[in-house]
Structure formats: C-alpha cells, structure tokens
Amino acid sequence: MIWADTIVQGVLLGGLYALFAAGLSLVFGIMRLVNLAHGDLIVMAAYLILVLVTLLGIDPFLAALISAPVLFGIGWLLQMHVLNRTLGPDILPPLLVTFGLSIVIQNALLEGFSADSQRLSVGALETASLALGPLNVGVMPLLTFLSAVLVIVGLNRLFYSTSLGRAFRATSDDAVTASLMGIRPQNIFATATGIAMVVVTIAALYLGTRANFDPTIGPARLIYAFEAVIIGGLGSLWGTLAGGIIIGVAQTLGAAINPEWQILAGHVAFVIVLLFRPRGLFPRAVD
C-alpha cells in the first residue's frame, strides 16, 4: 500500500512538472526555441503574484488571474523584440541569449526581493486532503494535476481546432510558406510566447503555493521541465504530461528509498529513457 501511495504522489508531482513544461513544450514545438530562462520566468511570475497578494490583500488564485494578461504582454514583447532576432538555423544565439536572460532575471529578483524564501498562502486548502479509496490525497496536489490536464487539453484544442492553432502548426512546419499565405511568423511566435507565459502564470501559482521559492530556484525547475519535454518528445503535449509523470514518479520512488536520492532518481530516469529513445517517447515532428 505504501508503494501505491508513493506512486500516486509521484503522478501528482508529475502534474506540477508538466505545468512547468507545457509552456516550454509549446514554444519549443512551434519555433524550436530553447528557452533557458523558462524556469526563471516561472519564478518571476510567482513574485508578481506575491506582490499582488501582498499589495491588494487578495487570494493567490485571483492574483494569478490578474497576472496572466500582464505576463502575456511581457512574453509577447520579449519574443517580438528580443527572441525573434535569435531564431535561425544556428542554435547558439537563442541558447546564449536566453541563458543571459536567465542570469538577468535571477539577479534582478535578488536585487528586488532579497534571497529570502517566500510562499503564497492559500489558507486551509494547503492542508486539506481527500480520501480516494484507501489513499489520502492532498487537495492542492490534486488541483495541480487537474490543472495540468486542463492546460494540456486547452492547448491541444487551441492547436487543432482554432484558426490560430492552424497558423501555429503551419508556421511550425514551414515559416516561409506560411508567410506566403498571409501569416506573419513574427506575430505568431510572439503570440505563442504570450500564451506560454499564461501557462507559466498557472505553473507559478502552484509553485508558490506548494513550496517555498526564492530567486535562485529557476534553473532546477527548468531542468525538470526540459526533462519532461524531451522524454515526451518534441511537440507532443500529452507526451510532456507523460514525461512529467515519469520524472515525478522516479523522484518520489527515489525519495522513498533514500531521501537524498530524490532528484538524482529523476535525472537517472531521464538518462535511461533517452538511452533507448533518443527522440523521446512520442515525437510528433521530424527534426
């Protein structure tokens, strides 16, 4: 029974990692942009929510709702004016520019908020739990997982049932031809990053409510997110969820054996999957 419990906790943790990863997967899938600042953007969003909660005295969920359009705007501007310049056949410019951005965000947050760890409080919800058969499951982890599934369903619907999604797919397949059909790839990319930042806001909400955060934790979240995306396969959002769950279960299993092995077990699972499937479990695009 204790193992079943561990695995359920792992799956729910995987939901959090899938949330970290969904925005990354979207951007990666559409424009092959590797955003090394993704983890720091999540932390930045968590601080924005924290500021709203502290200043206006509102609930973190409401604060996240207010933050989302702001972060959409930030993402749009960032893509339009900085990241679009880095796109091309050479992978070095996007890697280095987002790496620089990561350092800049971390240190700007350190300067603004100090290195103290912070937390978003959601009151009684934090400790509430539900009895699912013989297992007790925390309400917040469950909410996180359901949000991850909802985000992925939503993104998939956006991708495959709207004209914006069609433009996303067309630009992803062939930006030049898409632009002949009246699509502006620059705008499409900016919109995609904006949407990714809305997902980042949701990820930040759960990051901040479930554990402490400080300005320096971004890169570790980035690694988990990337592992989920790569395990899942390029461009497959459900694959990203599967990847998140694999990392989450590996981490909780590792921690159950020895608490010091938690993070290590997740990384080892990533290496093992990639040794057998170098392009991930469910690769959509040939790249």
Binding site: L36, T86, L95, F99, N107, I223, E227, V271, L274
Partner: protein, 360 residues
C-alpha cells in the same frame, strides 16, 4: 586555360601565417616570459588575480573549442571541473598522493567521465545536447555529494600536511625565501601559466591542422563535410574528450589553490559554465583571441562592479545578450572586421606565386 601552369613562375604555397601574426607570436613569447617572472616583482594578490585569469582562460578556450569549432554547445562543463577537483582531493586524501600528481589524476578522471557522457549526449541533437550535458553534470554533482569519505554534501578541506609537503615547495622556500602560503600560490600560478600556454598552443595547432580544417567544415555544413570524407563523429569525440581532460586539469589546479571543496561550489553551473560562456561570447566565439579579450574584460568588470552585489551579474548578463544580438562575433570580431588584423590566423591563403595574367 592550358597556359596557366607555364605562367606560375614561382611556386604557390598555402599559408596561414601573416606578418602581423609572426610579430605577435614574438611579443606573446616575451609576455609569457615576463609573466613567468611575476612572482619576483608582483604582489601576492596580483599573482592570485593572474591565477584566476589564466585558469578561466583555460576553461574559456576549452568551451570555445567545443561550441565555436565543434558545434557542441555544452552547458555541463562544470561536471569536468568538479570531477577533476574531486579526483585531486581523492588522490591527496585517500591515496596520499602529492597534490601535483593528483592534478594529473583530476584530468584523467575528467577524460574518463567524458567517455560515458559522450556516449549518452552525442545521441542528442543541438539543444537536447545542451540540456543533456547539464543533466549529466547534475547527476555527477548529486552522486559526488553521496561520497562520505570526501565530506559528502558539505565538502572538505585539503589536509595542511599534504599542501605543506607539495613537490617543489621546499625548493622555492629555501632558494627564494618565500613563505609557505606564498610558495603555494607561486607554484599554482606557474602551473596555470603552463596550462594556459599549452592549451592555447594545442588549440592553435589543432585548428591549423588537417583535423582543424575538418572541424571547421563539420561546423559549417556537417553533411557536406561528411560527403568529402570527414569523419565528423570521430573529430567531435576527440575534441570532447581532450576538452574534458584540459577542463579537469584546470578544475584540479583551481582547487589545489582553493584547498577547500564542496559539491555545490565545484559543480557550480554559474562559476564554471555561465561565466565561461560570457567570456567567450563577449570576446568573440570561434576565435582564439576572443576568449583572451573576454577574460580580461570579465576580470575588469568583476573588479569594478564587485561592490554592487548582484548588479554585477545583471550587467554581465545584459552585456552578453546585447553582444549576442548585435555583434554575434564578439568584440574581437568587431575589431577584426575593421582592421583585418588576426593574431592567431587559421584561414588558409595562397602566397608566393605570381598573379600575372597568362600571355601577358
């Protein structure tokens, strides 16, 4: 034209050297000699600064060779710095070796680690490769943190007895009257100078060789290079393993001087990869001069902004972004474009032959 062979009165030859570069080579040799005597006229803090600059230069040349020439954008070089440093500590503490011998052990350990790492990461393309190397570095860091004999997660110090008996220390103390602490700094400084000169020399030789030409071809167009018989995979593996060796040596040397180690410091992505990347990008990626310029700018920035805490890193990050966006070939690239000066030319050019038109 059939007459073209007749008009070539003097033989053509392919050269990479220019007059400027030969002159510069002489100046560089002079500079190295002046630096080698630094312990006799410079203050101890200047020697320590020079040690820092030289070791960062070695790391930067290594990363530049990987990313700028072999197209291997690694974000996991801290794995080799850390394992080199830890192997050196292991050699001293567990095997009772001399620290200087242990430095070689550090380099070898890093090269050994690079074999399974390459096996795993070379299956990944482009950005996946970058993330793969980072994950490997994290795995090594977390594993080393379990190594209780070397202090586990909190780390350990080099025993004083080991550093006191270091090879050459007594000779320096007796001959020049240095104190023990100064003599340690002097030995590590000389080793850093040798390592830096050898690294630059080896990289320059490699780039001017057949293999270097193959490497440039692979970087510019892998398929075209393979179609003319360049074994891209083999070249990349050689570059990856040798860079790991050099990086491990540098890591071990840095920690002989620091004498105190912990997994978080020895495997720091910021110290051993982020800084190094900024040095190479700011100076100019894909050139040997770039990392040299970059490390000097990096040092100047660090010294002038160190009082401002995190503002320093903020400025460094912004500078990196601006240069990558607007001058992707770095400051040295800007300079070369204006002046045409290359201090370590690797471009092959024809010289010596007659340029008269046939039948003239």
């Amino acid at each position: 034209m059939t007459t073209s062979t007749q008009t070539a009165r003097t033989a053509w030859s392919v050269e990479t050297r220019t007059r400027t570069s030969t002159l510069f080579l002489g100046l560089a040799a002079l500079l190295v000699i002046v630096l080698a005597f630094a312990p006799f006229y410079a203050s101890r803090s200047l020697i320590q600064d020079l040690f820092f600059i030289l070791t960062m230069l070695v790391l930067a040349q290594g990363w530049n060779l990987l990313a700028g020439y072999a197209g291997l954008v690694s974000v996991g070089q801290q794995a080799f710095v850390g394992i080199g440093a830890y192997a050196m500590f292991g050699g001293v503490i567990l095997l009772d070796l001399d620290p200087l011998v242990s430095i070689l052990l550090g380099g070898s350990a890093a090269a050994l680690l690079a074999i399974p790492t390459a096996f795993f990461t070379f299956r990944l393309q482009g950005a996946y490769f970058a993330i793969g190397t980072w994950v490997v570095a994290e795995i090594v860091r977390l594993t080393v943190a379990q190594w209780k004999a070397l202090g586990g997660g909190t780390g350990t110090s080099l025993p004083r007895s080991a550093t006191r008996d270091m090879f050459g220390l007594d000779f320096l103390k007796d001959t020049f009257g240095f104190k023990t602490s100064v003599a340690t700094d002097v030995i590590t400084f000389w080793l850093a100078l040798i390592l830096a000169v050898v690294t630059v020399g080896v990289v320059y030789r490699l780039l001017r060789s057949r293999q270097g030409l193959g490497l440039a071809a692979v970087r510019d167009n892998q398929n075209a290079a393979r179609s003319v018989g360049v074994d891209a995979q083999r070249l990349k593996t050689i570059v990856y393993l040798s860079t790991a060796f050099i990086t491990g040596l540098a890591g071990a040397l840095i920690y002989v001087q620091k004498a105190r180690i912990s997994p978080d410091a020895a495997f720091s992505v910021l110290d051993w990869t982020a800084y190094v990347i900024f040095i190479v990008v700011i100076g100019g990626i894909g050139t040997i001069e770039g990392p040299i310029i970059g490390v000097l700018i990096f040092f100047a920035l660090q010294n002038s902004l160190s009082g401002y805490g995190s503002w320093y890193l903020l400025v460094l990050g912004l500078l990196g972004i601006v240069i990558m966006l607007f001058a992707p070939r770095g400051l040295w690239g800007l300079f070369t474009d204006r002046t045409g000066i290359e201090l370590f030319p690797i471009r092959r050019r024809l010289s010596g032959g007659s340029t008269e038109k046939p039948g003239g």
